[in-house]
């Protein structure tokens, strides 16, 4: 256990910092520090272009094995990359779902043909992905998905029907990975398939969901006889749950570090304002600022422990608390930001409903403790899987 980086890693750090300084400028200057959660709707075209710029420099998918176009970067190097990316003000990555979820999932569970077909587009920053998990009746109870997939022999294709919801970036994405029921008589975790579906087709309709922030990061996605190829199912029909859960393991991986850098810049802003407007003289606010600082540092060491452990995406104890920890921390930061602003928290940037960054943080962090498994579900999982306490009884249906 040690904190220092090797000379080789420090050299890598310089390489990243230099590349960012030389490239995140000019036409990309306006997108610095933009496009994070709650701000995902901004500068999408510019951020798509940036994704390709990154790819040209070899800075997408750096953690993937070299044979799939990655750098095979070590955990240390991925940490360094995320730190330097954020330090330089690197914008929210529109390609993050493909790079951190689809890619690792295909590398672990996909066929060689699927890897050849999809990984290069992700690696090149040209094909964006979204996630088709939740449904109106499958929120916390994800295994209750109703979207159906059947194989149409005449077309030689899988045909999907149903509705997904809370799909972020759906309107910007080329592809969606979708969990759908391959066995219509099945229930729960059995009888599911994991599909790779092209979004630009007649059977797919996207409807943005207006949120409390006045923006629409999330969408509803309707599949009406949407199709994907016979070989666009990952794993076996009926074996989709295993793939879907494996993917959630990757979700708790290194991508969390980039998120933390964003949190850091938010906290820095709150501290700056507190110093400027006198809030920092209030002992109660000082306590909360310190608490936020300590909490974020702990988050960093939580994830360093998480990443220094098993590399198979399996969940250790520190990984089990991760979501509950960061979502609660972030929500508290949103509230602290408003309390630091005081009455100014109420005044918007402009019409019709233009929030500043901290107002947006305050409102959008209320989603953090809900999506990706609510805090209540997280507590169930921790109690049951980490502490071995009895499982919640299930309803009759």
């Amino acid at each position: 256990m040690k904190l220092s980086f090797s000379a080789e890693d420090e050299q890598f750090r310089n390489e990243v910092a230099e590349w960012m300084a030389n490239n995140l400028c000019g036409e990309f200057e306006p997108i610095r520090f933009r496009g994070g959660p709650g701000d995902e709707h901004s500068f999408v075209e510019e951020r798509k272009a940036w994704e390709q710029k990154l790819a040209e420099g070899g800075w997408t998918a750096i953690g993937w094995p070299k044979e799939y176009g990655g750098r095979g970067a070590s955990i240390e190097q991925q940490v360094i990359f995320n730190e330097e990316y954020a330090r330089a003000g690197g914008p929210g990555r529109v390609g993050h779902i493909g790079e951190t979820l689809t890619g690792p999932t295909l590398i672990a569970f996909g066929s060689e043909a699927q890897k050849a077909k999809y990984l290069p587009g992700i690696r090149a920053g040209k094909e964006l992905w979204c996630q088709g998990y939740s449904e109106p009746s499958a929120g916390s109870d994800l295994a209750n998905v109703k979207t159906k997939a059947h194989f149409d022999e005449t077309q030689g294709k899988w045909v999907l029907n149903g509705q997904k919801v809370w799909t972020s970036l759906a309107h910007e994405s080329e592809f969606c990975f979708v969990i759908a029921r391959t066995d219509p008589a099945s229930k729960g975790q059995k009888g599911l398939g994991f599909f790779l579906v092209r979004m630009d087709q007649p059977g797919v309709t996207i409807r943005p969901i207006p949120q409390l922030t006045g923006t629409s990061e999330f969408n509803e996605v309707f599949f009406d006889d949407a199709v994907c190829g016979a070989d666009d199912i990952v794993g076996e029909p009926g074996g989709g749950w295993k793939v879907a859960m494996g993917l959630l393991g990757f979700e708790r991986g290194v991508s969390t570090l980039g998120q933390q850098m964003l949190f850091q810049s938010e906290l820095d802003e709150v501290v700056r304002i507190a110093k400027r407007n006198g809030a920092a003289d209030d002992p109660a606010i000082r306590q909360r600022l310190a608490d936020a600082h300590i909490g974020l540092r702990i988050m960093r060491y939580n994830s360093m422990r998480m990443m220094s452990g098993g590399e198979d995406g399996s969940l250790q104890k520190e990984a089990m608390i991760y979501k509950l920890y960061w979502s609660s921390w972030h929500r508290n930061l949103g509230k602290l930001a408003m309390d630091v602003l005081g009455p100014e928290a109420e005044l918007l940037e402009g019409e019709p409903y233009e929030l500043n960054r901290l107002q947006s943080l305050f409102l959008f962090t209320r989603a953090d403790t809900i999506y990706g498994g609510t805090n209540q579900i997280q507590r169930n999982l921790i109690a049951e899987r980490a502490l071995g306490m009895p499982r919640e009884p299930r309803g009759a249906n």
Partner: protein, 386 residues
């Protein structure tokens, strides 16, 4: 950067767990807390002679094991689980002070004594509410024979049994952070009077130490006489980090024993572990234990970096205050929830959770609690120092 333990460290910790399982069963902890010494001297001897734990921090040049704070913190965590009550943490803090500031003569003399089984502790404040250089009230007077120190110290961990006491004293006519010296005195030197004081946490003996014109020679001065305020602050930070390791272990044990109890206790025809209100409380407890683990391990690494001169006093201070603030609150939360979840038996003398609850509060107030350390972090944060 590597944030997991090496195979060697894991082996050391497994051995520690087995050894403590043998010498620090709750029955023997409870037995020893009734004695005047407050811990089991025979277990302490074995810890020094068989396990060589006092040698962990001592460099190989001084015939020690040449390991670091990470190893000590891992052992302290396991001691905390057992509420082990021997003088290991305070001795380790003094060992680290010697390793950082001791002359080579001091090292060879004192390290040999520590490895032979002598214990050491630290005495800083008397009436003050908080530990700091400013709060030092004992005085050093220059006489013809050398410096003579007088003053009273309270809250001295194992002060009644320690062989060596590292004391802070101020030079005549100084105030604030000026004029502070650190001196390593023999507990049996003339003019040293010490008495154990009764404590709410029976597993953590504290003493009052009175120095009446105790003579110290130049070779007993640690660092620079009259200019040791910064060293004292760093020493207190190191000591605080070591305590957080015990807090982490105590919190983990409180959680484990609570969950075990909940799995057995049946009400309304089901184990009470099956109630969601109870499960969610336990999930919150585990979150705090794991978060505490992350910051404690980080702080342990910081001690090693600081010892090697790669991290400065500010980084040590930040790590210590972050760890002490979080782990103090976490342990108290977990032990407090533990008592609640045990229900009626939680407040009985018979069940052990009450001992952990007391340990939580005792280690929280010692060297400053959450609010105090958060204020210190806030000052650093607002000054742009962290």
């Amino acid at each position: 950067m590597e944030f997991s333990f090496t195979d060697e460290q894991t082996m050391i910790f497994d051995t520690a767990e087995a050894f403590l399982g043998e010498v620090a069963e709750m029955a023997s902890i409870r037995k020893s807390m009734e004695t005047g010494v407050g811990y089991d001297p025979s277990a302490w001897d074995r810890l020094c002679q068989e396990m060589y734990w006092q040698a962990i921090l001592i460099p190989e040049d001084n015939e020690g094991l040449g390991l670091g704070a990470v190893e000590v913190v891992g052992i302290l965590e396991r001691m905390g689980k057992k509420l082990y009550n021997g003088p290991f943490a305070s001795s380790a803090a003094v060992t680290l002070a010697l390793a950082k500031w001791g002359s080579s003569d001091q090292k060879s003399a004192y390290f040999a004594r520590l490895m032979s089984g002598e214990s050491a502790t630290i005495a800083v404040i008397d009436q003050a509410r908080a530990w700091s250089a400013e709060a030092v009230s004992a005085h050093a007077l220059q006489t013809d024979e050398g410096l003579r120190i007088s003053g009273k110290y309270r809250f001295v961990q194992h002060g009644h049994t320690a062989n060596l006491i590292l004391v802070a004293a101020r030079m005549p006519g100084t105030s604030g952070a000026e004029g502070i010296g650190l001196f390593l005195i023999d507990a049996d030197a003339e003019g040293v009077i010490r008495n154990r004081v009764p404590t709410m946490d029976q597993t953590r003996p504290l003493a009052e130490v009175q120095l009446e014109s105790v003579l110290v020679q130049p070779e007993q001065c640690i660092g620079c006489v009259g200019n040791s305020a910064q060293a004292l602050t760093q020493l207190l930070d190191v000591q605080a980090i070591l305590i957080t390791a015990e807090q982490l272990g105590g919190a983990q044990a409180s959680l484990d024993m609570t969950v075990d109890y909940l799995q057995d206790r049946v009400q309304f025809g089901r184990t009470i572990a099956s109630f969601q209100a109870v499960k969610h409380k336990c999930a919150d407890m585990m979150l705090k234990v794991e978060a505490s683990r992350s910051i404690v391990y980080y702080a342990a690494c910081v001690i090693d970096e600081w010892l090697a001169g790669r991290y400065d006093a500010n980084q040590l201070a930040e790590a210590a205050s972050m760890a002490k603030a979080y782990s103090s609150d976490a342990f108290f939360f977990v032990a407090g929830c533990g008592i609640q979840l045990f229900g009626g038996v939680g407040i009985t003398e018979e069940y052990d959770i009450q001992l952990y609850f007391k340990r939580a509060k005792a280690t929280e107030t010692f060297l400053g609690g959450g609010a105090e350390h958060r204020e210190r972090v806030a000052q650093m944060l607002l000054a742009g120092e962290c």
